[in-house]
Amino acid sequence: MAASSAGVCTACTIFRLSGRYWFLRTFSYNNNFSSRNVQTTTLHCQSQPQTKRKTDPRKWVGVVGLEIHAQIHSNAKLFSESGVHFAAPPNSLVSYFDASLPGTLPVLNRRCVEAAVMTSLALNCTINKKSLFDRKHYFYADLPAGYQITQQRLPIAVAGSLTYNLLVRQKWNQVVTKTVRIKQIQLEQDSGKSLHDDTRSQTLIDLNRAGVGLMEVVMEPDMCCGEEAAAAVRELQLILQALGTCQGNMAEGQLRVDANVSVHQPGEPLGVRTEVKNINSARFLARAIDYEIQRQTDVLESGGWILNETRSFDYKSGRTTPMRDKEGLQDYRFMPEPNLPPLIVYDNKTVPAHADPQQVVNIDQIRERLPELPNVRRSRLVEQYGILPEHSFTLVNEDGLMEYFVSVARETKAEPRKIIGWIIKDLLGLLKQHSLNVSQSPISPMSMAELLNLLEAGTVSSSAAKQVFQELWKGAGSSASQIVQKLDLGLLQDRSTLEQICRTVIDSHQEEVRAIRGGNKKVLNKLIGLVQRELKGRADPVQVKTILEEKTL
């Protein structure tokens, strides 16, 4: 394993200050600056004076490598012709080969090979024109054959890279681009599902998932904290969904991530790593990795050592617990798969003449058919609409939001930046509050566009527009203009009424006027608020402010 070349990640560094306390700062996505004080009891008792440490603060840096299993989105399984569905009656999608009945042989599915090649091309990997299949032996009830067909010696693709973006929310919305190297991508079989029934001391086995094609993406340990890992996984999810090779739904088990976590001091060799399994979502991934780095640091600081083991993450408690019994390292006894010849993929130069097109997987043809990848999509949005890069991240990150934005932009003449402001702040905010997808939004792109057109035309003020927005959200079926008429939220055009109301407000709030004349400008906002309340927000705030300023000064 290569040591991480970037050195210390600025987002999370563990400092040790003056002996007793040490802080762990983690920067999370939601703009929360959380700090934890951990008190380590030292051997020096309270009676002795606290000696100041003369040594430098010891920095422990986490090293994280991910192994991602992505279930290939295909009709049939990898080596048999039974179907692939999420929730089907138990053992109904199982063929004789999947149940490993004697006399059955594997036959490779073309779509799975294409999916692996597509993913490898999207991740800039070198595709091995010849790859080999192996058997990985271990005993478990959900692996009926006793071995899993995988590609260990010569996988289908090696040496790629995944570029992902980290949003660093400190004082500015800065986006940092990072790269993680991909060691290899290989095709392998999935195992069945086991339901543990502890009360009757038995396990129920469902083989519907056994034999489904998986792409295992092995990443080099270039990452240093949970946040980076979560961002990388999110980016990979978007890429796979854009390609159509995997639906990327972590909750349904279509994307499974195992993290290999270790800590070391910069410059020293890598520490002992532990594997963390049973992570069900990107959010839990960040928490699990951070917990594990924390735990390993605690152990090492207190003088212990880390065992090379597999740990399971419990999302309820946020902790990892050891999983496998203490057997030491598993020996998988890899052996070449005797029933499968080497897998050869071709490109335009090596395609044999008169070859059956059904039997030939052509890399160049697949490369031409690659759809638009997320980072290309982001730069296109920035270029086409002139929006800020971080907005394009949000647009591409949320499912369906980009399409929403494009439909609204098509219908309205408002500036894209304003549309973005409405979509990201107001619409997305409400969607998140009610835990809805973009597709479930009560406000259609048409209504949104209409509202923005009214705003542009000056028919409503911005504060009135927000009220209209709230009404639209309730989804009564009326359009924006209908709501404006019904609630009489049109912009107050008559300047004299405005002046009158301002005068009344000023007369009733002489104290505030004196404060403004005294130099306190902020009280003006309070008066503006009062005026707006009187007028139900129909006045143009800029106009109100100028009138009030005239009258008070």
């Binding site: 999608l93 063929s95 478990y140 057997e327």
Partner: protein, 191 residues
């Protein structure tokens, strides 16, 4: 014999005599002395005499060499003998779930290892390892259609215990007992 065929001998023939020298030289061609007595079509060639000559006067072309083309390997050419320790027996049992904890089993394993040690004599400099005879065949790629499945009933019939269309298995892997307990547990254990 060539190195390739020697490997196959070991793959398939580990149950054969685990000796370094052949018991009797197998060579020659089985020939029926009187060809004119052979009836039409398939006929059993009853061998009357073993001939050590290389003649093929009845016109059949055979690729089997007339005399052994290999020489027995002497002990001095082989690497040192591998002894199978009780720890290794332990580990192998755990990995393969095969019970061979007696003198005969361990002796057989050691002989098999010795037989395979002959491979060390072969010079494989610059030779790509072959792991399948199918290496120059095309791997067949089938279309992505669903043509199998929906045979839950038949599959569940193969299992002794089922619960509502699920197969039943013991809870997790039952760990093998420790070595001291194991010797009392297993019948044929002599170690």
């Amino acid at each position: 014999m060539s190195s390739k065929s020697l490997r196959f001998l070991i793959f398939s023939g580990s149950r054969s005599k685990l000796l370094l020298r052949p018991a009797s030289p197998r060579c020659g061609v089985l020939r029926c002395p009187g060809g004119e007595f052979v009836a039409g079509g398939w006929s059993l060639r009853l061998c009357c005499r073993l001939h050590h000559t290389a003649s093929t006067t009845d016109g059949s072309k055979t690729k089997v060499p007339q005399s052994p083309t290999w020489e027995p390997v002497s002990e001095s050419q082989l690497p040192p003998v591998t002894r199978v320790s009780p720890d290794l027996v332990d580990r192998l049992e755990r990995l393969a779930l095969v019970d061979f904890r007696n003198q005969e089993g361990v002796a057989r394993l050691e002989k098999a290892i010795r037989f395979a040690d002959q491979l060390h004599v072969v010079d494989t400099e610059g030779v790509e390892p072959m792991d399948s005879v199918l290496e120059d065949r095309q791997l067949y790629l089938q279309q992505d259609c669903v043509r199998e499945g929906n045979c839950a009933e038949q599959l569940l019939r193969t299992s002794r215990r089922t619960v509502e269309e699920y197969f039943v298995a013991p809870p997790g892997n039952i760990p093998l007992p420790e070595r001291d307990e194991r010797s009392s547990l297993l019948k044929n254990s002599e170690l």
